[in-house]
Symmetry: C2
DNA sequence: ACATCTGGTATACAGCATATACAGGGAGAG
DNA sequence: CTCTCCCTGTATATGCTGTATACCAGATGT
């Protein structure tokens, strides 16, 4: 993937000379987006930041849409792993939490999330990670896929909420005030919203629960209920997914065969 | 709210004469967005559709952002209600389903959902509806708010997925093929994604579960678990939320007092 | 009768993505 | 060495976008 010639050129070329690169363009785009949001990423701005003309970019990138695709997948690539496995629930939680952290670092990804989303290798790697975690529950394959989709979309949605909130708070100082200021015009029609009124008066909006933490526990509870209903009490091999027939004595088996045990060991070692 | 003069003008002016209106502009914007997506809504296009010049719109609307806000709230206004109450779970499900249906009708709302979202009266009305449903569970106020947020965001997220899928399928004919076509380049690196490979081979992607139906049941299950843990076995008044002390004989009480019973009756009647 | 306001128009400008034409430099062929 | 061709970067132009500014006709108020 990483052309070594280009990489050294990228690492050592520094100041601006050394010619234009795909990598340099993508990096400049990401920096711009991290700092000022996706809307600030225009071909002009990216080119300016690199000291070239607008059209020079088109020698390396087909168009803006593709640039954004590349930016997304590249940004994904710099993420850490989740540590040692501790059961599907803890692992899924860790996966979700790292996803949130990721969106926090690159909020602009949320702005372009609705669009077509051509999956790059790094994006697929995250998908694989989640599939492996959830597959260990023993759910049926289609259910595994659905669960991963559910959690993934939940993270995206919650991140959108959290990021938006912090952005507004940072921009308007307090934030809460502005929100309730806009609500002032509502107070005249409050009789039309009796439940809203009651919940407001009971302080339901004073200290809102963290939407990510709250929602995540609900979603995981829901998945747990599904597992309880669907999965017979069989342990399954983390490598191949086959049912493991339980050992009658001694330490419970974790793999269905020596082959899978070895495979897991090798994978763990690299 | 609805200026009768303007409304009659709007209803009877028909063909194009009768002058420009806020309502006509907003309606034209919605029609355009429904047909061609939010990206197609430009001041020029809206004006053309009405037979006026671009700048004429600015006599009635401060700018495009405000026009979109108005479009959103107006679109929300034409939605049906949910029928008679049948318990929090069925009601929440109905609310979510109507939300999905709404997004299906106006997919462009999803494109502008991430943004600041100034809440209009109709949007608040939907919020009130959901609050009333969830408040009947007896959860604490902050929890009620969090649950409504969770379900609302889930609907938005699932709708995005569903709408996107149908759009791609409609545009590219089959859709599935295109998706797996893009995956062709992946097959060379499949050894890097063992779980993905296994799930694919087991048919986990062949007949994907409906993300809305699947996710909704998980989310509701999670909420149900929360209620089971949090709520003592007390029935609560749907009007004021107070605890109802149970009737020892006869039909179970639904309201905490005659006053609330009457209030509910009056509200139901209008 | 005159001023002011309202609603619609025409023109202009800055920003955007990108198509097209062109220029210099390096590589390879004759 | 020269000629050609490709690769890379540039300059210019087109057609979008939102909107500022200036103008103009007609209605209304005084």
């Amino acid at each position: 993937m990483a052309n070594p010639e280009r990489s050294t050129e990228l690492l050592w070329g520094a100041k601006g000379r050394g010619g234009l690169n795909l990598e340099r363009i993508v990096r400049a785009g990401i920096e711009l987006a991290d700092a000022e949001g996706l809307a600030a990423v225009s071909m002009r701005r990216v080119a300016e930041r690199l000291g070239y003309t607008t059209m020079s970019l088109y020698r390396h990138v087909p168009g803006k849409a593709e640039l954004v695709d590349l930016m997304r997948d590249t940004a994904l690539g710099t993420e850490p792993d989740l540590g040692p496995p501790r059961g599907w629930r803890a692992d899924t939680e860790a996966w979700a939490r790292s996803g949130l952290e990721f969106y926090r670092r690159h909020p602009w990804l949320l702005e372009s999330a609705g669009v077509r989303h051509v999956p790059g290798p790094n994006s697929i790697a995250g998908f694989e990670q989640a599939l492996a975690i959830v597959a260990a529950t023993g759910l049926r394959p289609a259910q595994v896929v659905a669960v991963v989709g559910l959690v993934g979309h939940f993270v995206e949605s919650a991140a959108r909420e959290v990021v938006e909130t912090t952005r507004i708070e940072r921009r308007t100082g307090v934030g809460h005030d502005e929100w309730w200021g806009a609500r002032d015009s509502l107070y005249q029609h409050l009789d039309r919203y009796p439940t809203l009124t009651r919940i407001y008066e009971e302080g339901g909006f004073d200290e809102p629960l963290d939407p990510f933490e709250f929602g995540l526990q609900r979603v995981l509870d829901g998945i747990e209920a599904l597992i309880r209903d669907e999965v017979r009490d069989e342990t399954r091999c983390a490598v191949c997914g086959k049912v493991i027939d339980p050992a009658e004595t001694g330490r419970p088996r974790a793999y269905c065969s020596r082959a899978c045990q070895q495979k897991a060991y090798r994978r763990r070692k690299v």
